[in-house]
Symmetry: C2
Subunit: 222 residues, 2 copies
Amino acid sequence: MKAVCLISGGMDSSTLAYYARREGYEILALHANYGQRTEAKERSCAQKIASLLEATDFTEIDLRYFENFGASSLTNRNMPVDRFDPARAHLPNTYVPFRNANLLAIATSYAEAKGADAIFIGVQALDYSGYPDCRPAFIDAFRKVIALGTKETTQIELFTPFITMTKTDILWLGKDLRVPYEHTWSCYQNEEKACGTCGSCHFRREAFAAIGEKDPIPYEVD
Amino acid sequence: MKAVCLISGGMDSSTLAYYARREGYEILALHANYGQRTEAKERSCAQKIASLLEATDFTEIDLRYFENFGASSLTNRNMPVDRFDPARAHLPNTYVPFRNANLLAIATSYAEAKGADAIFIGVQALDYSGYPDCRPAFIDAFRKVIALGTKETTQIELFTPFITMTKTDILWLGKDLRVPYEHTWSCYQNEEKACGTCGSCHFRREAFAAIGEKDPIPYEVD
Protein backbone atom coordinates (compact mmCIF):
# COMPACT_ATOMS: atom_id res chain seq x y z
CA MET A 1 0.00 0.00 0.00
CA LYS A 2 1.38 3.36 -1.04
CA ALA A 3 0.25 6.77 0.16
CA VAL A 4 1.04 10.27 -1.03
CA CYS A 5 1.61 12.39 2.08
CA LEU A 6 1.62 16.16 1.84
CA ILE A 7 4.49 17.13 4.14
CA SER A 8 4.98 20.85 4.67
CA GLY A 9 7.46 20.38 7.50
CA GLY A 10 5.01 21.65 10.09
CA MET A 11 3.70 19.96 13.21
CA ASP A 12 0.48 18.66 11.68
CA SER A 13 1.75 17.22 8.42
CA SER A 14 4.70 15.58 10.18
CA THR A 15 2.36 13.93 12.66
CA LEU A 16 0.20 12.89 9.74
CA ALA A 17 3.08 11.19 7.94
CA TYR A 18 3.95 9.24 11.09
CA TYR A 19 0.30 8.24 11.36
CA ALA A 20 0.15 7.05 7.72
CA ARG A 21 3.32 5.02 8.26
CA ARG A 22 1.81 3.32 11.33
CA GLU A 23 -1.27 2.53 9.25
CA GLY A 24 1.07 0.46 7.07
CA TYR A 25 1.60 2.75 4.10
CA GLU A 26 4.83 3.20 2.19
CA ILE A 27 5.26 6.99 2.04
CA LEU A 28 5.58 9.08 -1.12
CA ALA A 29 6.40 12.53 0.23
CA LEU A 30 5.06 15.58 -1.61
CA HIS A 31 6.36 18.97 -0.50
CA ALA A 32 5.09 22.25 -1.92
CA ASN A 33 7.14 25.40 -2.34
CA TYR A 34 4.63 28.18 -2.88
CA GLY A 35 6.99 31.07 -2.22
CA GLN A 36 6.15 31.30 1.47
CA ARG A 37 8.58 33.32 3.57
CA THR A 38 9.83 30.34 5.56
CA GLU A 39 10.19 27.84 2.71
CA ALA A 40 13.88 26.96 3.18
CA LYS A 41 13.31 26.01 6.81
CA GLU A 42 10.12 24.09 6.04
CA ARG A 43 11.76 22.13 3.22
CA SER A 44 14.64 20.98 5.40
CA CYS A 45 12.19 19.85 8.08
CA ALA A 46 10.07 17.99 5.52
CA GLN A 47 13.16 16.23 4.11
CA LYS A 48 14.25 15.18 7.57
CA ILE A 49 10.83 13.76 8.44
CA ALA A 50 10.60 11.93 5.09
CA SER A 51 14.03 10.40 5.59
CA LEU A 52 13.23 9.28 9.15
CA LEU A 53 10.12 7.56 7.77
CA GLU A 54 12.09 5.91 4.94
CA ALA A 55 9.87 7.54 2.33
CA THR A 56 10.50 5.92 -1.08
CA ASP A 57 10.12 9.22 -2.93
CA PHE A 58 10.41 12.92 -2.10
CA THR A 59 8.98 15.23 -4.74
CA GLU A 60 9.06 18.97 -4.39
CA ILE A 61 6.54 20.93 -6.40
CA ASP A 62 6.94 24.53 -7.36
CA LEU A 63 3.81 26.56 -6.70
CA ARG A 64 5.53 29.93 -6.78
CA TYR A 65 2.88 31.11 -9.23
CA PHE A 66 1.07 32.08 -6.02
CA GLU A 67 3.64 34.88 -5.69
CA ASN A 68 2.40 36.38 -8.95
CA PHE A 69 -1.17 36.29 -7.73
CA GLY A 70 -0.28 38.29 -4.59
CA ALA A 71 -3.23 38.58 -2.22
CA SER A 72 -1.63 36.72 0.71
CA SER A 73 0.92 37.79 3.31
CA LEU A 74 2.36 34.27 3.15
CA THR A 75 3.59 34.81 -0.40
CA ASN A 76 3.71 38.63 -0.71
CA ARG A 77 6.66 39.83 1.34
CA ASN A 78 5.50 43.45 1.31
CA MET A 79 2.41 42.54 3.32
CA PRO A 80 2.97 42.14 7.10
CA VAL A 81 1.73 38.80 8.52
CA ASP A 82 -1.50 39.20 10.53
CA ARG A 83 -1.04 38.40 14.21
CA PHE A 84 -3.41 36.02 15.89
CA ASP A 85 -6.54 37.94 16.87
CA PRO A 86 -9.55 36.00 18.19
CA ALA A 87 -11.79 39.05 17.65
CA ARG A 88 -11.02 39.35 13.92
CA ALA A 89 -14.22 39.20 11.88
CA HIS A 90 -12.60 38.45 8.52
CA LEU A 91 -10.08 35.89 7.29
CA PRO A 92 -6.45 36.59 8.29
CA ASN A 93 -4.26 37.79 5.42
CA THR A 94 -2.27 34.55 5.54
CA TYR A 95 -5.07 32.93 3.53
CA VAL A 96 -3.65 31.76 0.17
CA PRO A 97 -6.61 31.64 -2.22
CA PHE A 98 -7.81 28.06 -2.81
CA ARG A 99 -4.43 26.64 -1.87
CA ASN A 100 -5.66 23.28 -0.66
CA ALA A 101 -7.45 22.61 -3.94
CA ASN A 102 -4.14 23.18 -5.70
CA LEU A 103 -2.35 20.82 -3.31
CA LEU A 104 -5.01 18.14 -3.65
CA ALA A 105 -5.10 18.37 -7.44
CA ILE A 106 -1.33 17.87 -7.61
CA ALA A 107 -1.40 15.08 -5.02
CA THR A 108 -4.05 13.29 -7.08
CA SER A 109 -2.01 13.59 -10.30
CA TYR A 110 1.03 12.26 -8.44
CA ALA A 111 -0.94 9.42 -6.86
CA GLU A 112 -2.53 8.42 -10.16
CA ALA A 113 0.82 8.52 -11.99
CA LYS A 114 2.55 6.43 -9.28
CA GLY A 115 -0.31 4.02 -8.67
CA ALA A 116 -0.76 5.08 -5.04
CA ASP A 117 -3.80 3.98 -3.08
CA ALA A 118 -4.26 6.96 -0.82
CA ILE A 119 -3.59 10.63 -0.15
CA PHE A 120 -3.11 12.02 3.36
CA ILE A 121 -3.52 15.74 4.02
CA GLY A 122 -3.41 17.37 7.46
CA VAL A 123 -6.22 19.91 7.11
CA GLN A 124 -8.16 20.89 10.20
CA ALA A 125 -11.52 22.58 10.24
CA LEU A 126 -11.25 23.77 13.84
CA ASP A 127 -7.99 25.57 14.32
CA TYR A 128 -7.41 27.00 10.89
CA SER A 129 -8.76 30.52 11.28
CA GLY A 130 -11.78 29.81 9.08
CA TYR A 131 -9.96 29.07 5.82
CA PRO A 132 -12.73 27.90 3.47
CA ASP A 133 -10.57 25.20 1.88
CA CYS A 134 -10.21 23.38 5.22
CA ARG A 135 -13.92 22.65 5.66
CA PRO A 136 -15.23 19.06 5.64
CA ALA A 137 -17.76 19.98 2.93
CA PHE A 138 -14.90 21.16 0.71
CA ILE A 139 -13.01 17.89 1.26
CA ASP A 140 -16.11 15.82 0.49
CA ALA A 141 -16.64 17.78 -2.73
CA PHE A 142 -13.02 17.16 -3.66
CA ARG A 143 -13.44 13.42 -3.13
CA LYS A 144 -16.12 13.50 -5.80
CA VAL A 145 -13.82 15.41 -8.13
CA ILE A 146 -11.14 12.73 -7.66
CA ALA A 147 -13.58 9.93 -8.38
CA LEU A 148 -14.90 11.63 -11.52
CA GLY A 149 -11.69 13.14 -12.86
CA THR A 150 -9.38 10.10 -12.79
CA LYS A 151 -9.29 6.90 -14.82
CA GLU A 152 -11.89 4.25 -14.10
CA THR A 153 -9.19 1.86 -12.94
CA THR A 154 -7.80 4.44 -10.49
CA GLN A 155 -8.94 4.14 -6.88
CA ILE A 156 -7.55 6.81 -4.58
CA GLU A 157 -8.79 7.36 -1.05
CA LEU A 158 -8.42 10.84 0.41
CA PHE A 159 -7.75 10.74 4.17
CA THR A 160 -8.01 13.78 6.43
CA PRO A 161 -7.72 12.17 9.87
CA PHE A 162 -7.19 15.52 11.61
CA ILE A 163 -10.13 17.37 10.16
CA THR A 164 -12.13 17.42 13.37
CA MET A 165 -9.17 17.21 15.76
CA THR A 166 -7.74 20.14 17.67
CA LYS A 167 -4.05 20.92 17.61
CA THR A 168 -3.90 19.51 21.15
CA ASP A 169 -5.45 16.22 20.00
CA ILE A 170 -2.89 16.05 17.21
CA LEU A 171 -0.05 16.65 19.63
CA TRP A 172 -1.25 13.89 21.97
CA LEU A 173 -1.36 11.53 19.00
CA GLY A 174 2.08 12.70 17.90
CA LYS A 175 3.55 12.02 21.34
CA ASP A 176 2.19 8.49 21.06
CA LEU A 177 3.74 8.15 17.58
CA ARG A 178 7.04 9.61 18.89
CA VAL A 179 7.13 12.38 16.27
CA PRO A 180 10.41 14.33 16.59
CA TYR A 181 8.92 17.83 16.85
CA GLU A 182 12.37 19.39 17.06
CA HIS A 183 12.52 18.70 13.29
CA THR A 184 9.28 20.56 12.48
CA TRP A 185 8.53 24.23 11.83
CA SER A 186 5.24 26.13 11.97
CA CYS A 187 6.06 29.86 12.12
CA TYR A 188 4.83 31.88 9.14
CA GLN A 189 7.34 34.65 9.68
CA ASN A 190 10.86 33.61 10.72
CA GLU A 191 13.31 30.81 10.02
CA GLU A 192 15.78 31.17 12.90
CA LYS A 193 13.59 31.60 15.94
CA ALA A 194 9.81 31.26 15.63
CA CYS A 195 8.05 34.61 16.16
CA GLY A 196 5.52 33.29 18.67
CA THR A 197 2.88 35.80 17.56
CA CYS A 198 1.58 34.71 14.13
CA GLY A 199 -1.53 32.52 14.05
CA SER A 200 0.46 29.39 13.35
CA CYS A 201 2.81 29.95 16.33
CA HIS A 202 -0.15 30.83 18.53
CA PHE A 203 -1.95 27.52 17.96
CA ARG A 204 1.23 25.47 18.23
CA ARG A 205 2.25 27.03 21.55
CA GLU A 206 -1.25 26.69 22.91
CA ALA A 207 -1.17 22.96 22.12
CA PHE A 208 2.17 22.38 23.83
CA ALA A 209 0.91 24.33 26.85
CA ALA A 210 -2.25 22.19 26.92
CA ILE A 211 -0.30 18.94 27.16
CA GLY A 212 2.07 20.49 29.69
CA GLU A 213 5.26 20.15 27.66
CA LYS A 214 7.83 22.55 26.31
CA ASP A 215 7.96 22.99 22.55
CA PRO A 216 11.49 21.90 21.54
CA ILE A 217 11.95 24.66 18.91
CA PRO A 218 13.34 28.13 19.79
CA TYR A 219 11.07 31.18 20.08
CA GLU A 220 11.83 34.89 20.01
CA VAL A 221 9.33 35.55 22.74
CA ASP A 222 10.70 33.02 25.27
CA MET B 1 -16.47 42.05 -15.79
CA LYS B 2 -13.20 40.12 -15.74
CA ALA B 3 -12.64 36.54 -16.81
CA VAL B 4 -9.69 34.22 -16.41
CA CYS B 5 -9.25 32.41 -19.74
CA LEU B 6 -7.09 29.33 -19.94
CA ILE B 7 -5.26 29.81 -23.25
CA SER B 8 -3.05 26.94 -24.35
CA GLY B 9 -2.50 28.37 -27.80
CA GLY B 10 -4.60 25.66 -29.44
CA MET B 11 -7.65 26.00 -31.64
CA ASP B 12 -10.22 25.49 -28.91
CA SER B 13 -8.84 27.75 -26.20
CA SER B 14 -8.18 30.52 -28.72
CA THR B 15 -11.76 30.33 -29.96
CA LEU B 16 -12.87 30.34 -26.33
CA ALA B 17 -10.97 33.53 -25.54
CA TYR B 18 -12.55 35.26 -28.54
CA TYR B 19 -15.94 34.06 -27.33
CA ALA B 20 -15.36 35.38 -23.77
CA ARG B 21 -14.30 38.75 -25.22
CA ARG B 22 -17.49 38.95 -27.28
CA GLU B 23 -19.47 38.17 -24.14
CA GLY B 24 -18.03 41.41 -22.75
CA TYR B 25 -15.27 40.16 -20.48
CA GLU B 26 -11.90 41.77 -19.97
CA ILE B 27 -9.45 38.89 -20.43
CA LEU B 28 -6.90 37.69 -17.87
CA ALA B 29 -4.88 35.12 -19.81
CA LEU B 30 -3.55 32.08 -17.98
CA HIS B 31 -1.13 29.85 -19.86
CA ALA B 32 0.25 26.60 -18.46
CA ASN B 33 3.66 25.16 -19.20
CA TYR B 34 3.51 21.54 -18.09
CA GLY B 35 6.59 20.36 -19.91
CA GLN B 36 4.73 19.29 -23.03
CA ARG B 37 6.88 18.71 -26.11
CA THR B 38 5.44 21.62 -28.07
CA GLU B 39 5.41 24.22 -25.28
CA ALA B 40 7.51 26.93 -26.97
CA LYS B 41 5.23 26.97 -29.99
CA GLU B 42 2.07 26.91 -27.89
CA ARG B 43 3.27 29.76 -25.66
CA SER B 44 4.00 32.05 -28.59
CA CYS B 45 0.54 31.33 -30.04
CA ALA B 46 -1.12 32.01 -26.66
CA GLN B 47 0.76 35.31 -26.31
CA LYS B 48 -0.27 36.39 -29.80
CA ILE B 49 -3.94 35.58 -29.16
CA ALA B 50 -3.87 37.37 -25.78
CA SER B 51 -2.32 40.45 -27.32
CA LEU B 52 -4.85 40.54 -30.17
CA LEU B 53 -7.63 40.42 -27.56
CA GLU B 54 -5.99 43.18 -25.49
CA ALA B 55 -5.80 40.91 -22.44
CA THR B 56 -4.95 42.99 -19.36
CA ASP B 57 -2.73 40.27 -17.89
CA PHE B 58 -0.81 37.26 -19.19
CA THR B 59 0.36 34.88 -16.50
CA GLU B 60 2.34 31.78 -17.28
CA ILE B 61 2.27 29.02 -14.73
CA ASP B 62 4.88 26.35 -14.39
CA LEU B 63 3.39 22.88 -14.09
CA ARG B 64 6.56 21.05 -15.03
CA TYR B 65 6.13 18.89 -11.95
CA PHE B 66 4.11 16.72 -14.35
CA GLU B 67 7.45 15.76 -15.92
CA ASN B 68 8.54 14.22 -12.62
CA PHE B 69 5.35 12.21 -12.43
CA GLY B 70 5.95 10.68 -15.89
CA ALA B 71 3.01 8.56 -17.02
CA SER B 72 2.10 10.64 -20.09
CA SER B 73 3.64 10.87 -23.55
CA LEU B 74 2.87 14.60 -23.52
CA THR B 75 5.40 15.22 -20.76
CA ASN B 76 7.69 12.16 -20.97
CA ARG B 77 9.81 12.56 -24.09
CA ASN B 78 10.93 8.93 -24.05
CA MET B 79 7.37 7.75 -24.67
CA PRO B 80 6.17 7.95 -28.29
CA VAL B 81 2.89 9.88 -28.76
CA ASP B 82 -0.05 7.55 -29.49
CA ARG B 83 -1.50 8.07 -32.95
CA PHE B 84 -5.20 8.53 -33.35
CA ASP B 85 -6.86 5.12 -33.32
CA PRO B 86 -10.66 4.91 -33.22
CA ALA B 87 -10.47 1.23 -32.22
CA ARG B 88 -8.37 1.84 -29.10
CA ALA B 89 -10.12 0.44 -26.04
CA HIS B 90 -8.06 2.33 -23.44
CA LEU B 91 -7.13 5.98 -22.94
CA PRO B 92 -4.39 7.26 -25.27
CA ASN B 93 -1.01 7.78 -23.57
CA THR B 94 -1.34 11.55 -24.04
CA TYR B 95 -3.59 11.58 -20.95
CA VAL B 96 -1.91 13.70 -18.25
CA PRO B 97 -3.31 12.45 -14.95
CA PHE B 98 -5.94 14.83 -13.55
CA ARG B 99 -4.52 17.75 -15.49
CA ASN B 100 -7.75 19.72 -15.78
CA ALA B 101 -8.25 19.69 -12.01
CA ASN B 102 -4.78 21.22 -11.67
CA LEU B 103 -5.61 23.88 -14.27
CA LEU B 104 -8.95 24.69 -12.67
CA ALA B 105 -7.50 24.89 -9.15
CA ILE B 106 -4.89 27.38 -10.34
CA ALA B 107 -7.41 29.35 -12.38
CA THR B 108 -9.61 29.64 -9.30
CA SER B 109 -6.74 30.87 -7.13
CA TYR B 110 -5.85 33.41 -9.80
CA ALA B 111 -9.48 34.51 -10.21
CA GLU B 112 -10.00 34.85 -6.46
CA ALA B 113 -6.75 36.82 -6.03
CA LYS B 114 -7.59 39.16 -8.93
CA GLY B 115 -11.29 39.54 -8.15
CA ALA B 116 -12.39 37.99 -11.45
CA ASP B 117 -16.02 37.02 -12.01
CA ALA B 118 -15.55 34.04 -14.27
CA ILE B 119 -13.29 31.28 -15.55
CA PHE B 120 -13.48 29.98 -19.12
CA ILE B 121 -11.98 26.60 -20.01
CA GLY B 122 -12.28 24.92 -23.40
CA VAL B 123 -12.88 21.32 -22.34
CA GLN B 124 -14.93 19.07 -24.59
CA ALA B 125 -16.53 15.83 -23.60
CA LEU B 126 -17.02 14.59 -27.15
CA ASP B 127 -13.76 14.83 -29.01
CA TYR B 128 -11.28 14.37 -26.23
CA SER B 129 -10.53 10.67 -26.48
CA GLY B 130 -12.37 9.88 -23.26
CA TYR B 131 -10.20 11.84 -20.84
CA PRO B 132 -12.06 11.56 -17.51
CA ASP B 133 -11.32 15.16 -16.53
CA CYS B 134 -13.28 16.48 -19.53
CA ARG B 135 -16.63 15.01 -18.48
CA PRO B 136 -19.57 17.27 -17.57
CA ALA B 137 -19.95 15.45 -14.23
CA PHE B 138 -16.35 16.28 -13.37
CA ILE B 139 -16.92 19.96 -14.21
CA ASP B 140 -20.09 20.07 -12.10
CA ALA B 141 -18.23 18.54 -9.18
CA PHE B 142 -15.50 21.12 -9.59
CA ARG B 143 -18.07 23.95 -9.49
CA LYS B 144 -19.04 22.70 -6.04
CA VAL B 145 -15.40 22.65 -4.96
CA ILE B 146 -15.03 26.28 -6.09
CA ALA B 147 -18.14 27.37 -4.18
CA LEU B 148 -17.04 25.59 -0.99
CA GLY B 149 -13.31 26.25 -1.12
CA THR B 150 -13.25 30.03 -1.69
CA LYS B 151 -14.20 32.97 0.53
CA GLU B 152 -17.86 33.66 1.11
CA THR B 153 -17.57 36.99 -0.69
CA THR B 154 -16.02 35.31 -3.76
CA GLN B 155 -18.37 34.51 -6.64
CA ILE B 156 -16.71 32.79 -9.57
CA GLU B 157 -18.65 31.25 -12.42
CA LEU B 158 -17.02 28.40 -14.31
CA PHE B 159 -17.96 28.41 -18.01
CA THR B 160 -17.33 25.49 -20.35
CA PRO B 161 -19.26 26.58 -23.45
CA PHE B 162 -17.67 23.89 -25.65
CA ILE B 163 -18.33 20.92 -23.42
CA THR B 164 -21.00 19.41 -25.67
CA MET B 165 -19.76 20.93 -28.92
CA THR B 166 -17.79 19.08 -31.55
CA LYS B 167 -14.57 20.46 -32.97
CA THR B 168 -16.54 21.30 -36.11
CA ASP B 169 -19.09 23.32 -34.10
CA ILE B 170 -16.23 25.18 -32.46
CA LEU B 171 -14.66 25.95 -35.80
CA TRP B 172 -17.94 27.32 -37.19
CA LEU B 173 -18.22 29.54 -34.13
CA GLY B 174 -14.59 30.59 -34.53
CA LYS B 175 -15.13 31.56 -38.16
CA ASP B 176 -17.98 33.78 -37.01
CA LEU B 177 -15.70 35.29 -34.32
CA ARG B 178 -12.92 35.76 -36.91
CA VAL B 179 -10.37 33.80 -34.87
CA PRO B 180 -6.95 33.95 -36.59
CA TYR B 181 -6.25 30.19 -36.69
CA GLU B 182 -2.87 30.77 -38.33
CA HIS B 183 -1.76 31.85 -34.83
CA THR B 184 -2.88 28.65 -33.09
CA TRP B 185 -1.18 25.25 -32.64
CA SER B 186 -2.67 21.88 -31.79
CA CYS B 187 -0.06 19.22 -32.66
CA TYR B 188 1.21 17.22 -29.69
CA GLN B 189 4.42 16.24 -31.43
CA ASN B 190 6.11 18.90 -33.57
CA GLU B 191 6.68 22.65 -33.51
CA GLU B 192 7.67 23.35 -37.12
CA LYS B 193 5.13 21.45 -39.16
CA ALA B 194 2.22 19.71 -37.46
CA CYS B 195 2.53 15.91 -37.66
CA GLY B 196 -1.01 15.33 -38.89
CA THR B 197 -1.21 11.93 -37.20
CA CYS B 198 -1.53 12.50 -33.42
CA GLY B 199 -5.03 12.63 -31.95
CA SER B 200 -4.99 16.39 -31.68
CA CYS B 201 -4.02 16.87 -35.35
CA HIS B 202 -6.57 14.27 -36.39
CA PHE B 203 -9.51 16.10 -34.83
CA ARG B 204 -8.35 19.51 -36.02
CA ARG B 205 -7.96 18.40 -39.63
CA GLU B 206 -11.27 16.60 -39.54
CA ALA B 207 -12.96 19.83 -38.41
CA PHE B 208 -11.40 21.94 -41.16
CA ALA B 209 -12.40 19.29 -43.70
CA ALA B 210 -15.97 19.33 -42.36
CA ILE B 211 -16.39 23.07 -42.92
CA GLY B 212 -14.68 22.80 -46.30
CA GLU B 213 -11.72 25.04 -45.56
CA LYS B 214 -7.98 24.63 -45.56
CA ASP B 215 -6.24 24.75 -42.17
CA PRO B 216 -3.81 27.70 -42.42
CA ILE B 217 -0.99 25.97 -40.49
CA PRO B 218 1.65 23.76 -42.22
CA TYR B 219 1.48 19.94 -42.01
CA GLU B 220 4.12 17.29 -42.65
CA VAL B 221 1.58 15.06 -44.34
CA ASP B 222 0.31 17.62 -46.88
